[in-house]
């Protein structure tokens, strides 16, 4: 493992995710015909929140504080399993795909618990939705990764997407495309984007993530938003590494290409959000099951 690249990796996952949010927001504004907030607006928001005081509910306990903290810790740790610009991720072992999925599960557990800690029905509602939809997203994620596993014969993310991803597209276009589509649906669902949830609204009954952090304030809200941005970034990075084979050049070139590709995916997410409406809640499970089925088709195509 290259220590320098590991440090760069850590710096990227700590610093770049808000920029991805900025890109998505700018894209949405441009498509809507507005000029939009500065690209760095999420950073200004975070700094502002970190300098504020905390207001806590009388009902809450340590779980309320643990929610955002665990969300950040798990997202950063999960990022160490995904190769960003490097060929092998800082932490890589056979079976790390399970750890990748379950780390986000841990973050989600504490986010929902923190929401329930407030005793408010709004936040209970958001937590229930998050639990329901993520339980359905989990098989879709695993099936999509299984397409890659059966093509590559490796059980670690670095083995799956670390090198020579163009070979995936050469050998099996259809299954890989289906898996990518499925991963994209999971990405939108897990990160509460349109068509699953609207991150721009704050007090409506059709919300998932924003309503769970409704009672967090100041640095706690900042940590929750930061963790959510990291999660979006890490899961986007995984999809980008499948979609975009990085050039075989020197390390800086690979990192620049990687970051450009992730931000380009942000533009795609922004366009999806601008052109689609939020689904009715009853239809969300159907879309998630459909995502599982897409990957299942991909696996069936690969059966020897």
């Amino acid at each position: 493992m290259n220590w320098l690249e590991a440090l760069v990796h850590l710096a990227v996952v700590l610093l770049v995710p808000p920029l991805l949010l900025g890109v998505i927001q700018r894209t949405k504004a441009r498509v809507a015909g507005r000029r939009g907030a500065p690209l760095l607006q999420p950073y200004y928001d975070l700094v502002k929140l970190l300098r504020k005081d905390v207001v806590l509910s009388r009902t809450t306990t340590w779980v309320f504080v643990a929610g955002p903290a665990v969300a950040v810790a798990t997202a950063v740790l999960a990022s160490l399993l995904v190769p960003f610009g490097e060929r092998v991720a800082p932490l890589s072992f056979a079976g790390d795909i399970v750890l990748f999925a379950y780390l986000f599960g841990l973050g989600r557990f504490f986010t929902i618990a923190a929401a329930l800690d407030t005793g408010s029905s709004f936040e209970g509602m958001g937590g229930a939705r998050e639990a329901t939809f993520s339980a359905l997203a989990e098989p879709a994620l695993f099936l999509a990764l299984l397409v890659l596993v059966s093509l590559r014969g490796s059980l670690s993310l670095s083995g799956l997407v670390g090198e020579d991803t163009h070979i995936l597209w050469v050998t099996a276009v259809a299954p890989v495309a289906l898996a990518c589509l499925s991963l994209f649906v999971v990405l939108l669902a897990e990160n509460s984007r349109i068509p699953f949830d609207d991150p721009a609204t704050h007090l409506e009954l059709t919300m998932i993530h924003e309503v769970m952090v409704l009672d967090h304030s100041g640095p706690l809200l900042g940590a929750a938003l930061w963790g959510a941005a990291q999660k979006l970034f890490v899961q986007s990075a995984l999809l980008v590494r499948i979609l975009v084979p990085l050039p075989d050049g020197p390390a800086p070139l690979r990192w620049v290409c990687f970051l450009a590709a992730v931000l380009a995916l942000g533009v795609v997410i922004g366009i999806v959000e601008s052109t689609m409406a939020r689904l009715r809640l009853r239809q969300v499970p159907m879309l998630l099951v459909a995502a599982s089925l897409l990957s299942a088709f991909g696996i069936v195509l690969l059966v020897r």
Binding site: V55, S57, T61, A101, S121
Partner: protein
Amino acid sequence: MSAALALVAVVLAAVSGLPGLVLPRDHVAADRSAALLLALAALCAVAATVSLVPSVPEQTLALPWLVLGERVEVGLDGLSAFFLLPTLGISSVASLYAVAYWPAHAHPRSARRLRLAFGLIAGGAGLVVISRHALAFLAGWEVMALAAFFSITAEDEREGVRRAGFIYLACTRASTLALIGAFALLHAASNGFALKALPGLDPFACRALFGLALVGFVLKAGAMPLHLWLPGAHAMAPTHVSAVLSGMLLKIGIYGIVRFASLLPPLAVSDGVFVLVLGMASAVLGVAFALGQHELKRLLAYHSIENIGIILMGVGVALLGRSLGHPEVELLGLAGALLHVWNHALFKALLFLGAGSVVRQSGSGELDRLGGLARRLPRTALCFGIGAVAICGLPPLNGFVSELLVYLGLLRAALLSGGALGLLAVSGVAALALVGGLAAACFVKAFGVVFLGEPRTAAAAAAHEAPQGMLVAMAALALACVAIGVAPQLAVPCLEAAARSFDPALGARLGDLAPFGSISLAALALLASLAGMAAWVLRRRLRPTLRVATWDCGYAAPSPRMQYTSSSFAAGLVGLFHWALWPQLDAPRLGRRPFPGTARLHTELPDPVLDRLTLPAARWLAHASTWFRWVQRGRVHSYVLYILVAIVLGFLAARGDLG
């Protein structure tokens, strides 16, 4: 040496209730002596394991005096030791808990009987695990099963308890019947009752033997279609008994399956497929039913069905790997199943003990009558929270390690075998992923509704922390969960020894196949970063400038009753699974008047196998066989006559005189 130590441990456990019979009825020393004897038994089991693992293959000890004319042996190998440890360990922790939870002076009527039966469960289960002879095995099995019946029915003045006990008794009789059939086949095949490997068994006898044993053992383990006794018994028994039922009694069924599979020659591929599919069905349906439960202990009981499913999935993978000749798949599946046996024993016992503390301190186990207990029972809440994270299979705790091993076994099976078996392994991975997501939803619900938010009733608001003894027991289990999660290498020698006694051909080293070092590293990194953040929060003294009421979107008078309930939390997922669960909803029609009257909403999730199938069938059978009642007239001498006639007929049949 180690076999003798194991025997001593089993005897100590079995007699742990005896001192209480001679001590005064309400003396605290009775409970303490039982806990002490069980702790000694657990220590002996640890010593036996340490002297056996990892070098000695097996130690046996002949007990010629036990049954006349039969050479009865007890023995300790890796597999026996692996199951003996949780058997006596969980019993000893639960008895420590019972000293405070079920003191003799508070339960003068049942304390002696329960203490005696509680020790006999552990002793019987221990005898099952170490016996190398079918009759000793059956004797231990019966002692364990009947002692469990008397423990479940400790509060037999309650109608629900009697009902649950009766259903358990019926199931355990059926299970023993199947096992007697299996042992009769074993005797026919090997011309003896010794539990020894049967290399040259013909495939048909092999399949019949495994099938009968599977029915008997799965009935005890409580996998999905044969789980009928499990939820009621776990919910109605005193909590330390529930912990032992779930933590170890179910596992004795798993031990039976693994032991029988190790004695038989490699089974047909279809047998492994069957066990794997059974495990998948049990895991998915168990957690789906758990989601709809309203009572904490019943919810935990359905999660036992789920976890037994995960264990059976691992066993199925191991059997498949053995039949197909893939030792690494076999080793990973078996190691995953066995480690999950330990892990489930630890975190499920922990959760039951936590639930007992909640019920004892707040007077109710109904989820929607609790709430806000994390402020009132902070230590119980912490322990229960650790158990909840562990049972969801989340890192950095122990459940993650064993589920990862099962995943690895399934993934390698998917890579190594194409076609139908590959697709089966793929669906196994998807099922396990779904189970993980559903379990997380269910436990965040249980933890949130019970411990977080505001108390929904006055009784919950008045609750306070459980006594010291109960907390110590829970803390010990929680520490063990963290220890296995952070340092799974500690369990590897025991796992490898058990795998070698399952199949001596297992040469592959577990340490090379499973990424234990990386798991430790990730777990430590996670704990360190969380500790760092906690230190930052504490040092900065994240003192809120304001403590206010939860933001209620402008509504002026929120009440605790308005919080999201457990039924509403689970409603979405229960609705998605309605095709399997058939939930019952009694919703009032509110009418069109502007001020509707009071209304009640009632939701319920009846168990389909028990409430919709078995009980109606049993009622029909009872009704149809009324004419047969004339044989049962309550006269003892006619019953003695029946026994005599049965024995004579059996004797004649055995001599061949009846043709």
